[in-house]
Symmetry: C2
Subunit: 354 residues, 2 copies
């Protein structure tokens, strides 16, 4: 099969981890007989530096013409503490999500037996955790209008807005995922305070009738923030709006002890996007020490979700597990054993696939 | 001294835990020679059931005429899963906060050595945790207008709004608290996305110059949701807006293992309010099993914050510590030892004070 993949390395450690994923994807292509072409685009701080725009049109064209996007990370501290900056890297990310129609961010949390002891939680709380968030990604307070300041600049406002269709399409993905898993769906909202949340809850209640095999629970976002730490094993599939999802998926990402390994997918239209959940980690940039496994596993998700190639996805998961078992890992998880370089891990994985 | 205290037991276990705090407060009054009068008001689901209004005017008058309010908990499941309910208990809580001008919710998180092993986190992560949130409580998306639905009901919207003065007065409390503590202030926002957050960050940056002894850090809400679990000891004082504070303080409440013991204060005007952070726990209502210690410690905070009576506050903390040391505790923390009833714990504490 022919596969056109857009590569957006982004900022910080992005280019280094993407480079390893490319090695692995190429190896998979060679082994399984796929013809894979890559086209690279700029996004984030590096795109601002080069073009003034964090998501240039040229990049969008590359993505829109591709079958799938492999994305690294964006963000640079020089933009973070300047609240008056006119252009910020994150705007590129948000525009990209919107223009590509990526309305669902899928973030699994699961444990690797060899890493679960690194969890900040006690073993019995997290061992075997396995849930997945479906975060709405192109609506809510991230895009709602009006937003800004009054004339004097002394008052600021944001608008959170959701239409019923936006809730329906995201919730359906959650219901369908739950049907293939443990059949429990948790709708996370703040329906005791927010009008948007009441629309979410009401809409999910209506849809539930169509999925009688799925048990639906409704929980307030503050309660979920607690229970994710207390009893993470209680969850299966969680659906939520954009801002709540931002907070809770990041909270969830640390509980398994495998944050450096967690992949994610953004779905919703023809073009799907895959990225590690970790950030641009500027302190480590250029040092060849960043853990590439989350990006490599994002490539595995790409084979499964964008190309329906389960065997190829499995081949990648298998070599990742092998690298963990054999200790071919970067310093963040080396634990006294030899710490391999980012590039060495990538080479090793690619070689094992072939 | 004469002290007029408004009692708002509320719903669920509220009345039971408030009754124990009253015993303790009376004992303190007797011992230290204060003349304490209590007036009780309805709030929450029980107020709706009795009057149709979750925060009746009569209750507001009792509170407004008092020196301090002791509050239990509100909420009843019968209102939670009805997104179309016209009146909800929570509206009473929100109206109360706003009408009493309680713009700052102060939520400490600390550990009790005898309970820290109950934390879901590993001991080395949480032992000695000691931070405090200042959550803005009368602004943001909780009160912003417009909010509601379009005519067809197919679109919902909420408005998050903050004025500079709202940020300033909350932030000053945080800076002042930090000066008395470890001199670290963390401003929690989402300045990479939200206009309100940029106003927060900008305002805090300006104020920082007035508090040169305080180190100020700026962190995104999603990052804090992670770091609260990874390295909770890294924090001292955190300030944040209403909705972020709702989520993060609940998350924080479970990390110390002492959730049933955590008190809180709401400040901002002449009348101050004190309440346990736990909810109305309807499953336990009427069973005389709920843990009253968080409410008793809220009464301790009342003596300190509302009446500047540090000795009285200390007397309460001391007997609470004694009850923990001697195992005079309710079933949730009894751990194989004898489980005392809610009312027995209250009697014991009051007797020990005298
Ligand atoms: C960088 C930021 C705008 C972004 C978000 O809030 O969506 C990030 O936190 C994420 O979760 O991908
Ligand atoms: C009951 C609810 C409206 C309330 C809030 O969101 O403020 C509660 O969660 C709290 O934190 O006191």
């Amino acid at each position: 099969m022919e596969m056109n993949i857009a590569l957006l390395p982004g900022d910080g450690i992005g280019p280094e981890v993407i480079a390893q994923a490319v090695k692995v994807v190429k190896a998979v292509g060679q082994k399984f007989g796929h013809q894979i072409t890559f086209k690279e685009g700029l996004v984030g701080a590096c795109a601002i530096d080069a073009t003034g725009d964090p998501y240039p049109d040229a990049t969008h064209e590359i993505c829109a013409a591709s079958d799938a996007v492999l994305f690294g990370a964006i963000g640079d501290p020089k933009y973070d503490n300047d609240p008056k900056a006119k252009v910020r890297p994150e705007q590129g990310l948000l525009r990209m999500r919107q223009k590509l129609g990526l309305f669902a961010n899928v973030r699994p949390t699961f444990t690797f037996p060899s890493l679960v002891h690194k969890s900040p939680l006690k073993l019995e709380r997290v061992d075997g955790v396995d849930f997945v968030f479906f975060r709405e990604l192109t609506g809510g307070v991230y895009f709602g209008e009006p937003r800004g300041r009054n004339e004097q600049g002394t008052k600021a406002f944001d608008t959170n807005v959701y239409s019923k269709e936006e809730v329906v399409r995201l919730a359906r993905m959650g219901f369908e995922a739950a049907q293939k898993r443990r059949k429990l769906l948790t709708c996370v909202d703040k329906a005791n305070v927010m009008a948007t949340s009441r629309l979410w809850r009401e809409t999910v209640q209506e849809l539930a009738a169509e999925y009688p095999d799925v048990k639906v629970e409704y929980e307030f976002v503050d309660a979920v923030a607690m229970r994710l730490i207390q009893w993470p094993k209680a969850y299966d599939v969680l659906i939520t709006e954009n801002l709540f999802g931002d907070i809770l998926t990041d909270e969830a990402s640390v509980i398994s002890g495998s944050m450096g390994l967690m992949p994610s997918a953004s779905l919703g239209s023809k073009v799907k996007l895959f990225e590690p959940i970790h950030g641009s980690y500027p302190q480590a940039a250029g040092k060849d020490i960043a853990n590439p496994l989350a990006t490599v596993l994002s490539a595995a998700m790409m084979f499964e979700y964008a190309f329906d190639m389960k065997e190829e996805a499995q081949a990648i998961s298998d070599v990742v597990n092998l690298s963990l078992a054999e200790g071919v890992v970067t310093e963040d998880i080396a634990e006294g054993g030899k710490a391999y370089k980012t590039s060495e891990v990538g080479d090793w994985l690619a070689a094992k696939i072939l």
